[in-house]
């Protein structure tokens, strides 16, 4: 029952936080028909419905959804310790989430264009975002305040940080130096390693092998991985998060 209740709250946290009485409506109506919670409280539903939609018998594979974005999610990233998730969206906001509970902890507003990429530098309380209109912004994760913003003269197709956190790695041959207040492009040496695990089309690929096929409804436009946890951002604006039982390695 406790596990069932956790799934029930986590799956529905967005709506029950927004409109608590939906616990007795939407949350219960779409709970799996053979879940303990649905069976225990089905009389509540009978007060409102004669016919109920067909729902799955059991809880699905997804553990929880992070909901709040009003438009597609373009980029997701894990904070270096895995506790925080950042997402960038076509709705022009960047949001920070508690990775454990799915609670939205910050909404960062300031970009005027679609936000296309996001990244956390190692060892500092910042998150960087870049919008389609070529503005880079650095935000403080604790307060949600904008640190600095600056325009760049090229479109950036990727965003990550160097290990020392001093430079943003982009798609082209330049690194973006982010030692405020100086932000400049410097030539890049060598190639960065591709990530060990990543979303590629309908598949999660690890170590250059397809590991997991994502069915319709679970597929995403972007993804982030941290240890055995992964999160997929979707065009609907939702993100779903799951965990492998163990960290995916060569054995998969």
């Amino acid at each position: 029952m406790l596990d069932d209740a956790s799934r029930f709250v986590i799956r529905n946290r967005y709506i029950i936080n927004e409109a608590p009485l939906q616990i007795y409506m939407s949350a219960l109506l779409f709970a799996p028909s053979r879940s303990i919670i649905r069976q225990t409280f089905v009389d509540v539903l009978r007060k409102y419905f004669d016919l109920m939609p067909k729902v799955p018998d059991f809880w699905g594979a997804e553990m929880f959804k992070l909901e709040g974005h009003k438009d597609g999610v373009e980029s997701v990233a894990f904070w270096p310790d895995g506790q925080l998730v950042a997402s960038a969206s076509l709705d022009t906001t960047v949001r920070l989430w508690d990775a454990k509970t799915g609670k939205q902890v910050q909404k960062l507003e300031g970009h005027e264009g679609l936000v296309s990429f996001i990244a956390f530098p190692p060892d500092c309380q910042l998150v960087a975002s870049i919008s389609r209109d070529k503005i880079v912004m650095l935000w403080y994760t604790q307060t949600g305040e904008l640190g600095i913003s600056f325009p760049v003269d090229r479109s950036i197709e990727d965003l990550s940080f160097t290990q020392d956190g001093r430079f943003i790695v982009t798609n082209d041959e330049y690194l973006l130096s982010v030692s405020p207040p100086i932000c400049s492009l410097v030539p890049r040496k060598g190639q960065s390693e591709p990530p060990a695990i990543a979303l590629s089309g309908h598949w999660i690929r690890g170590h250059e092998r397809d590991i997991l096929w994502m069915p319709h409804g679970y597929r995403g436009s972007c993804s982030a991985f941290f240890g055995k946890n992964f999160i997929v951002g979707q065009v609907s604006g939702a993100m779903s998060s799951s965990s492998f039982r163990t960290k995916p390695t060569e054995k998969y």
């Binding site: 029952m1 209740a5 409109a19 509970t101």
Partner: protein, 97 residues
């Protein structure tokens, strides 16, 4: 009685505080901690199980009005921990479901 679609943000703090006075809010927030600190393990049909069977949704609703939905998730995690321990101690490792 409110409409089922009522947004929490549309209900004044004063209304929520009136309907969920401090002592109720306190009980909702902390009963799990007391249950955990009591050192007792949870059993099927025990007090906690009975309470949840009758009032789980009410409890979630109350904490949601208080803006503490996350608290439910943390609390359920704490309760799960004390079930597992009791099973492990009573039946030994390996028989835990």
């Amino acid at each position: 009685v409110k409409a089922l679609g009522t947004r929490r943000a549309a209900v004044g703090q004063a209304v929520i505080a009136n309907n969920l006075p401090d002592e109720v809010a306190y009980a909702c927030s902390y009963w799990v901690q007391y249950a955990v600190m009591s050192g007792e393990y949870l059993k099927d049909d025990g007090d906690v199980h009975q309470f949840l069977t009758n009032h789980l949704l009410h409890w979630i609703e109350a904490l949601s009005w208080l803006g503490k939905t996350s608290y439910v998730i943390h609390s359920l995690g704490s309760l799960q921990a004390i079930v597992d321990v009791s099973q492990a101690q009573m039946y030994g490792p390996g028989t835990v479901d």
